[in-house]
């Protein structure tokens, strides 16, 4: 069996490990446009801060490809998929035949139409090369004034990463609050104040136009879009992302897809959506790999979930913010959302003990109508789950 994986990031790593769970012998070829060993993409900000380095940023050990008997073609792009003849053409001219193909092309920066942007050099913050390039640029401009468009996860991570090595940072966003994808208004206020304490300046509800600012370095961090071109061209159903089912299959025979480039239906949210977060990329990739190799796996419980910190303040969130909001009295900001007797979402700032139990409750959709909601906002335990579940988890078989 010949497996080809396009993309060499998190979903690809999951796919490799998934294939090897079910097939020790098939030939795996991975094609990655970036000239690197797989690295933890979210760690590029930690790299600029000096909290990791080019060795530790590796997502898997140095012998990963060798151990999994994979051929890695790095620094090359897949240009075309011929789904009839089952082969992939690479930028270097090679043509790779496949029995099963996985598209794990991730996402690329989304740069909206910003007036006058074409007059300026600007940076994006998605890849290791982006990070290294930004670092080089900063070295050439002492006390640089940095302008960041986008107060979302990537824009603020970028700000944190460079704040020690630049003069000042201004973050502008159309939204009326920071981190609008994961925080409600009150939570966002707390984080904004915290960041202002580190000297960051915010211009919210402000349209991006570089002509209206004085700056030395411009970073555009206005979101990501799924990389879907190859899939579209070979006839796969594509919405915002490449559509995959719970087995990570696309609508084209023997072609799978996983990670940021996809969208899928989630039993938890009841919606078809692209949820570009790392845990989903890994699990979808692993699911694809197992199924590609003839095993059985499915994943239909994706939900938005994020754990992220800025200057020592941590934010853990999951689900959707619908229904009644209940805050814990003992913490600065620990809020849960309950609707129709079910936990729908939560926002925890700093006090995030046992957050995963809440994530599991959202995922399982368990009935909590009999539960003391004020108590649940404070803390959670396995008593929230049925006794037979707890027995299964905790007890010896006797």
């Amino acid at each position: 069996m010949d497996y080809v994986i396009i993309g060499n990031s998190i979903a690809a790593a999951g796919c490799i490990e998934g294939i090897r769970r079910a097939d020790q012998n098939g030939k795996i070829t991975v094609v990655g446009a970036e000239p690197y060993h797989v690295y933890g993409r979210p760690l590029i900000s930690y790299l600029l801060e000096g909290k990791t380095d080019l060795e530790r940023i590796k997502y898997r050990p140095a012998d990963f490809y060798e151990k999994n008997c994979c051929t890695l073609v790095k620094g090359e792009r897949a240009l075309k998929i011929d789904a009839q003849k089952k082969r992939v053409t690479l930028s270097g001219g090679a043509v790779l035949p496949y029995d099963r193909l996985a598209i794990a092309t991730g996402s690329r920066p989304f740069v909206p139409r910003i007036p006058n942007l074409e007059k300026y050099e600007y940076h994006t913050f998605m890849t290791l090369d982006d990070a290294l390039k930004l670092q080089e640029k900063i070295k050439t401009v002492p006390n640089a004034r940095v302008l960041i468009f986008g107060a979302g996860l990537i824009g603020l991570k970028c700000a944190e990463a460079i704040h020690k090595s630049v003069g000042e940072i201004t973050v502008a966003d159309m939204a009326d609050r920071v981190l609008p994808s994961i925080l409600d208004h009150d939570g966002a206020e707390i984080i904004k104040k915290h960041l202002e304490g580190y000297g960051l300046k915010f211009l919210l509800s402000t349209a991006a136009n570089p002509d209206s600012f004085d700056f030395d370095i411009l970073c555009v961090c206005t979101g990501v879009v799924p990389e879907t071109e190859l899939a579209k061209e070979c006839g796969a159903e594509v919405g915002r992302g490449i559509f995959v089912d719970g087995k990570s299959k696309t609508t084209v025979k023997d072609i799978y897809a996983a990670g940021d480039c996809t969208e899928s239906y989630s039993e938890v949210t009841g919606k078809r959506a692209a949820i570009p977060i790392l845990p989903n990329a890994y699990i979808q990739g692993e699911t694809a790999g197992i199924n590609m190799a003839g095993g059985i796996a499915s994943f239909d419980s994706a939900l938005p979930m994020n754990a992220i910190g800025f200057f020592g303040k941590h934010i853990l969130t999951a689900g959707v913010y619908e229904g009644e909001a209940v805050r814990a009295k003992s913490s600065e900001y620990r809020k849960i959302f309950v609707k129709d007797g079910k936990l729908k979402g939560f926002i925890f700032i700093d006090d995030f003990k046992r957050a995963g139990i809440y994530t599991a409750l959202i995922r399982d959709g368990g009935d909590i109508s009999g539960v003391d909601i004020d108590g649940l906002a404070e803390n959670a335990g396995l008593n929230l789950f049925p006794k037979n579940f707890r027995d299964e988890v905790l007890r010896a078989k006797n």
Binding site: G40, G356, T359
Partner: protein
Amino acid sequence: MKKIYVQEEWCLKCRLCEYICAYANSGFEDIAAALKDKPIRPRITVEESGKISYAVSCRHCDEPSCVKGCIAGAISKVDGIVKIDKNKCVGCFTCVLSCPYGAVAAGPDGAAMKCELCVENSGGSPMCVKYCPNRAIILE
């Protein structure tokens, strides 16, 4: 691979497991130096609910959500034990967000921490099992 199991009918709610765990992972040789007048950071938690109580620690899952969700590739399962490589962990706590048993927490050094069966700390073998006075925590 042996696992820690908990029998809730034998748990006395004494929380000795929490103290002994915090001690074993403290790096101190002296138990008073490790625990006295300090907030303790155990990797096992005694939950109480009405009349019942039981201790919860890492299950070393077959399909570990913490491993799959780790943004740094810092968590792996080796020889049946789910381990956190502190050298790679950047302290984002996606693992805390992912663990359905609430068995991962923030450690004192900014990295995540969880039960690693006392393999690498001063205990050598699970100390909660060794010291549970009513044998409610067992390894088998």
